[in-house]
């Protein structure tokens, strides 16, 4: 019983510490977040280039997803 209490208290404290780090950015202050470098795969040009190399290495168009069939004409 006592141990559970201590555990619960510890867990709560941890949660508090973690959750207080969250904050909402108001919509009108999302200018920096809207920049291309902030995308999930930054930066877009490099990503595109990598994808190209990867496709070539894998020996087929659209090696990363659906695309042309196996006819080799793509």
């Amino acid at each position: 019983m006592r141990r559970t209490m201590v555990l619960a208290r510890g867990a709560t404290l941890l949660l508090m510490a973690v959750l207080s780090g969250c904050s909402t950015v108001p919509p009108w202050e999302r200018g920096t977040l809207a920049k291309p470098v902030m995308s999930v795969d930054p930066p877009p040009q490099e990503q595109q280039q990598k994808l190209r190399t990867y496709s070539a290495k894998e020996g087929g168009a659209a090696a990363t997803g659906v695309g042309g069939g196996g006819c080799g004409c793509n």
Binding site: M5, L19, C22, T24, P26, P27, W28, E29, G31
Partner: protein, 169 residues
């Protein structure tokens, strides 16, 4: 005992968790006071200056993609309905005047543009998204709130503006 503690913990968690969403103004609310500096010109304009006119208050930014589509629409609206008492005011929430000017060079505006780098106006209106437009009637009451902009919104927005210009409820 444990229950009491759990309850206290929950309350504490609710208090320090992610900030609660502040809901935007709704139709029927009085428009809050808001003043900002004209982008081209030194003087400050405030919303109250336009009392007696129907104000289409649009919050935009150079980094906001749908804003690009909304500018031609607002130009058209200002041109068509300006003499009926419509005043469109575009509030840029950009951090610098330079960013706003660069946007306007590509997407010119034929209506009043003000700059609010501090974000006082968008805070007062509690924006929920970008762009946001508020149609404020001649008495200073918000009569319509519109978040986002798509080409398909044009007809509905124009209809609302006309209705408010004609004094309909």
């Amino acid at each position: 005992m444990t229950l009491k503690f759990a309850r206290a913990a929950l309350v504490a968690l609710a208090a320090i968790g992610p900030a609660p969403v502040a809901w935007s103004l709704a139709s029927g609310d009085n428009a809050p006071a808001c003043s900002a500096q004209l982008l081209d010109g030194a003087h400050t304009v405030s919303l109250a200056d336009y009392r007696g006119k129907v104000v289409y208050l649009d919050f935009w930014a150079s980094w906001c993609a749908p804003c690009r589509e909304s500018f031609p629409f607002m130009n058209e609206l200002q041109g068509d309905l300006g003499d009926k008492g419509l005043q469109i005011v575009g509030v840029s929430v950009d951090k610098t005047a330079e960013e706003a000017r660069r946007f306007l060079a590509r997407y010119p505006a034929k209506f009043t543009i003000v700059l609010d780098t501090a974000g006082a106006c968008p805070s007062a209106f509690r924006l929920e998204g970008m762009p946001s437009s508020y149609i404020i009637d001649r008495a200073g009451v918000v009569r319509a709130v519109h978040v986002g902009f798509r080409d398909s919104d044009r007809t509905e927005l124009r209809r609302k503006v006309m209705e408010i210009l004609n004094g309909g409820k």
